[in-house]
């Protein structure tokens, strides 16, 4: 039984839910904006375990004289298949260099050129190299830099291993959250005048993913249940190179350094998919930006599916795969630039990439969609902000470019922090009876879950049903039949979930309870995803429909907004903000022609 | 209310595993070395006194049990020396010569060579003093 303890609420001026790159950056931004504010960082894991830690390749920002803001903006907008909000992209690109220098000042060990300046590497979909990197463990270094820097700020109180279960709202504003202290099982209210959601994405609703256990979309579900719409949920990024079975990420940087993809005939098959022509490996211009293996992730993952249908992929115990070849880079370059890739391949694929080919396949990696926010990170619920993967501003639109996401964390984490700080100091906490009511409601919901009679459904079975349904119905290629089936199955899974019973009756560190709460949230966001996908009858970026194969700007140059109801999610639409880059054809394999405009054909 | 279970190490920690035991013996060697140093200090002191006292003492040092102690101390000294030499590369900040890091085996082998050299010098001197 969870302990019902009538202990006082915890109170802060601002709370941040989620302690990853975005959350930590937001916390520091609040502290720097107004040092007198009390800040609570609420995270279900210790911050250094946050999923930011897994990111490998790098962070994009205009850094070198051969690069311009217009190039980065264009790459991002075309990469998004024109679904990104261009005002947001402009702000993002303009702020990015400052944020990355800030990280550097805070100690991030960026790789350097001999001159002492930061080094950059090429990355998918970018016409000029602009990806700053720290070997191939950029996310790890960024997270630890941010976490260790956050220790300087005494105003930041960490609530480590507190699991948020609901948002508290009163007087039309978000006023905090309800959370379980894992160590004791106590369920308490954490009050604040501004709440910043930085809980990451929800890749775990799919069976094969680079995402770790904690990526269950908790914050997205919390906001969704509080009436905030989830935007563009149908856009899910498959990273082209994950290890089969485990889904462990093999960074895009391996292609940035010159790695190539080969099918079962030993051919660089990407040349058949409108991604330009391959250069010989000895050519100094290889790898060419925005070409072949440095094309955007959605196109590369889709190419794999076509190769699979044509029988050109290898068959394995965990599904089909192709080969990533980095042998020509040589041991020295591999150990200097992508040492983690070598370690992962040896440990989890049993091969040494210096001598052998790495088996890879597309796996779910990132959610472009999330909590609908404006440029300040503000949501439709006053007092609630969101930043990072759990949010959708949107700068990534229908497909994200590699190395833009880590930058997004700090740019929008900082902005949301600054804005939340100014809003928090303008309000004071009220003692509304609705707050206590919501707290009690949360407590009874959880104790009901724990008190269900034994012998019901097992959590793992519900989770397996969910992930199977998502992969089958809303994978890389979708159609009306698969999506309709998915939506129906999800309704059944929701019923199944209400019959789940738990083995663990303890109140101390009950991870079965938190897994069950996570699973409820996963079902919520899966429904938002499936229904948004079903309503979007076009193909754009990572949302590819075999029954509607072209991009339809006339009807769908819009963001989907999924609102939670007691029945199916209600899907509405909002315009995309266009400033200076009218929709054009999305081309790769050659220098992009930024003047071309033929109405947006695939 | 929950009680996290306390799990500190007891005083027999050194018996837990081989690597702990080896470190414990390395540290224990200091005791034997200290004993030998004291015995040698007493030897010097006795050397400044009359011949009988000195000879009594050297006979004592030659007693079988004392000889066993000396060999034990030598064994411990060698153990300490070997472990110390092997650990030296970790204890030093990376030494760079012409831009490349000096590999560990050079640091280790140079120490051994140094020890052999010094032992030869001192051994020869003792032999020369003894002969003359």
């Amino acid at each position: 039984m969870p302990k019902i303890d009538h202990v006082e609420d915890i109170r802060h001026d601002v709370i941040i839910i989620g302690g990853g790159g975005a959350g930590l950056r937001a916390a520091i931004a609040v502290a720097e904006t107004n040092p007198s504010l009390s800040i609570g960082l609420v995270s279900k894991v210790y911050p250094m375990r946050s999923h930011t830690v897994v990111a490998e390749g790098g962070m994009a920002a205009v850094a070198k004289p051969n690069d311009t803001r217009d190039f980065h903006i264009y790459d991002t907008i075309s990469g998004s298949d024109w679904l990104a909000d261009q005002d947001a992209v402009e702000y993002f690109v303009d702020e990015a260099p400052r944020e990355l220098i800030q990280l550097e000042h805070w100690g991030c060990p960026w790789n350097r050129e001999d001159s002492g300046q930061v080094a950059v590497r090429p990355f998918g979909g970018m016409q000029i190299e602009r990806t700053w990197y720290a070997a191939d463990k950029t996310g790890f270094h960024v997270l630890h830099t941010l976490f260790q820097t956050s220790l300087r700020f005494q105003q930041i109180t960490r609530h480590d291993e507190w699991f948020a279960t609901a948002l508290l709202t009163a007087d039309g504003r978000c006023q905090g959250c309800v959370a379980i202290e894992l160590r004791t099982g106590e369920i308490r209210a954490i009050r604040a005048n501004a709440v910043i959601m930085c809980t990451g994405g929800g890749g775990r609703i799919f069976p094969f993913t680079t995402n770790g256990a904690i990526k269950t979309g908790d914050g997205m579900a919390l906001a969704y249940r509080a009436g905030v719409p989830l935007k563009d949920m149908e856009f899910v990024q498959y990273h082209p190179t994950g290890l089969p079975g485990t889904g462990i990420l093999i960074t895009e940087a391996s292609r940035g350094e010159g790695g190539i993809l080969l099918n079962n005939q030993g051919r660089r098959y990407l040349e058949n998919y409108d991604l330009g022509s391959p250069l010989p490996l000895t050519d100094p211009k290889h790898p060419q930006n925005r070409t072949m293996e440095l094309g955007p992730r959605d196109r590369l993952s889709q190419a794999f599916m076509h190769e699979q249908a044509a029988g050109h992929t290898f068959k394995g115990p965990y599904g089909d795969y192709v080969h990533l070849d980095v042998r020509h880079l040589g041991e020295r370059r591999i150990d200097a630039r992508i040492p983690f890739v070598r370690e992962l391949a040896k440990n989890y694929a049993g091969i040494d990439p210096v001598k052998d080919l790495i088996p890879v396949r597309p796996v779910v990696h990132y959610m472009m969609g999330g909590i609908d926010t404006d440029l300040d990170g503000a949501t439709a619920l006053p007092g609630l902000y969101a930043a990072g993967e759990c949010a959708c501003v949107s700068i990534n639109g229908a497909n994200r470019l590699g190395s833009n996401s880590l930058t997004e964390l700090v740019v929008f984490g900082a902005r949301a922090g600054r804005h939340a700080a100014t809003v928090a100091q303008a309000h004071s906490l009220t003692d509304a009876p609705e707050i206590n009511h919501q707290l009690e409601e949360s407590r009874s919901r959880i104790s009901d879950l724990q008190n269900r009679p034994k012998g019901g459904e097992r959590l793992a079975d519900v989770r397996d049903a969910l992930t199977t349904a998502m992969e089958a119905g809303a994978g890389i290629f979708r159609d009306e039949t698969s999506l309709a089936a998915c939506c129906d199955t999800l309704r059944d899974i929701r019923k199944q979930m209400s019959h789940v019973s738990l083995d663990d009756t303890s109140s101390v560190y009950n991870t079965e309870l938190t897994t069950a709460l996570e699973l409820e949230g996963m079902i919520d966001i899966a429904e938002a995803l499936a229904h948004s996908a079903r309503h979007r009858t076009e193909s754009r970026g990572s949302h590819q429909r075999t029954d509607y194969v072209t991009r339809d700007d006339d009807n769908f140059l819009k963001h989907s907004l999924a609102f939670r109801t007691d029945a199916n999610p209600r899907i509405e639409y909002a315009d995309v903000a266009i400033t200076h880059w009218p929709p054009a054809k999305r081309t790769y394999g050659a220098k992009p022609d930024q003047k071309e405009n033929d109405g947006g054909n695939q | 209310m929950n009680r996290p279970l306390d799990r500190r190490l007891g005083w027999t920690w050194w018996a837990r595993k081989g690597s702990y035991m080896r470190v414990f013996l390395r540290e224990l060697s200091a005791v034997f070395l200290f004993v030998e140093v004291v015995l040698i200090a007493i030897l010097f002191h006795k050397a400044g006194q009359d011949a009988t006292t000195y000879v009594e003492y050297t006979n004592f040092l030659w007693h079988p049990l004392m000889v066993a102690l000396h060999f034990l101390a030598l064994a411990f000294a060698l153990w300490h020396t070997v472990t110390f030499f092997l650990l030296a590369p970790s204890a030093l900040p990376p030494i760079r010569v012409v831009g490349r890091r000096v590999p560990s085996f050079i640091i280790v082998s140079q120490q051994f060579m140094g020890m052999v050299f010094v032992s030869l010098v001192i051994g020869s001197w003792i032999a020369w003093v003894g002969a003359t």
């Binding site: 375990r49 830690v53 220098i101 350097r112 630890h144 160590r183 560190y509 | 209310m1 190490l9």
Partner: protein, 249 residues
């Protein structure tokens, strides 16, 4: 056809118990499974009440450290093939209080980390000048890079007998991180960090057992960091003694 299985003996503890116990589970033996996969199988299929930490399952988040057959290790990187035929004993990390089952209380580490000021300290007020990066050559990066690879998995604390005997000892990871910042050419906070490192519960408590470096999954070599700090500390002491008039702030 009976599937090959392997036996796991797992430490169980609930705070309302007086003493911990072990529970035996039989899990399928798969040659590409790690211990974490086996634990997940137990939790999913056999006993949902088993509590443990995990996340990335690729050896970089540091959550899943546990004692496997007596050695501290990351369960996401320990293969069942190396433990076959078993039985495999899984226990919570040594030297930390146990909250529940395989979950230990890490508060002491986080406090110790705080003590060593593990962040860049600048004397000049240029931290907010974001026009360009501080210059750092590849050679300067090399000096501290290895010590920056710590994933805070705590295997070193579990392996260190001093941590197990002396509560206040700052420990390998915290001291290695302190050294990481001391060696970073951009940092100007060495003095304040050394004040903490050179206390009794700092580097001098370490007796160079070296187990921390042996078990470190990321080859950080915290033992090396501490011994190098000791050397620096000793040299620094004599410098101050012999030339006290030199301004070292």
């Amino acid at each position: 056809m009976k599937e090959t299985t392997i036996q796991l003996d797992i430490y169980r503890y609930r705070p309302d118990w007086d003493a911990p116990g072990y529970q035996t589970y039989e899990v399928p033996y798969r040659d590409d499974w790690v211990v974490l996969d086996a634990l997940n199988y137990v939790k999913d299929q056999i006993d949902g009440s088993l509590s443990y930490r995990w996340s990335c399952r690729m050896g970089v988040c540091g959550s899943c450290g546990m004692q496997v057959n007596g050695e501290p290790t990351l369960t996401c990187a320990t293969f069942l093939t190396d433990l076959y035929p078993g039985p495999v004993k899984v226990e919570p990390l040594n030297n930390f209080p146990v909250e529940r089952d395989l979950v230990v209380d890490l508060t002491s580490f986080l406090e110790k980390l705080d003590h060593v000021s593990p962040y860049i300290v600048r004397k000049e007020d240029d931290e907010n000048d974001l026009t360009s990066e501080y210059s750092q050559t590849p050679a300067e990066l090399e000096r501290y890079k290895q010590f920056s690879m710590c994933i805070n998995c705590m295997l070193c604390y579990a392996a260190c007998p001093v941590v197990g005997r002396v509560d206040e000892f700052l420990g390998p990871a915290a001291l290695a991180l302190a050294q990481r910042y001391n060696l970073d050419s951009r940092d100007q906070g060495k003095n304040q960090r050394q004040d903490v490192m050179f206390q009794n519960e700092g580097i001098w408590e370490c007796t160079f057992v070296g187990e921390c470096s042996t078990v470190c999954p990321k080859h950080v070599d915290p033992a090396g960091a501490i011994q190098q700090a000791k050397l620096e500390g000793a040299v620094d002491y004599y410098k101050r003694l012999l030339t006290p008039w030199v301004d070292r702030s």
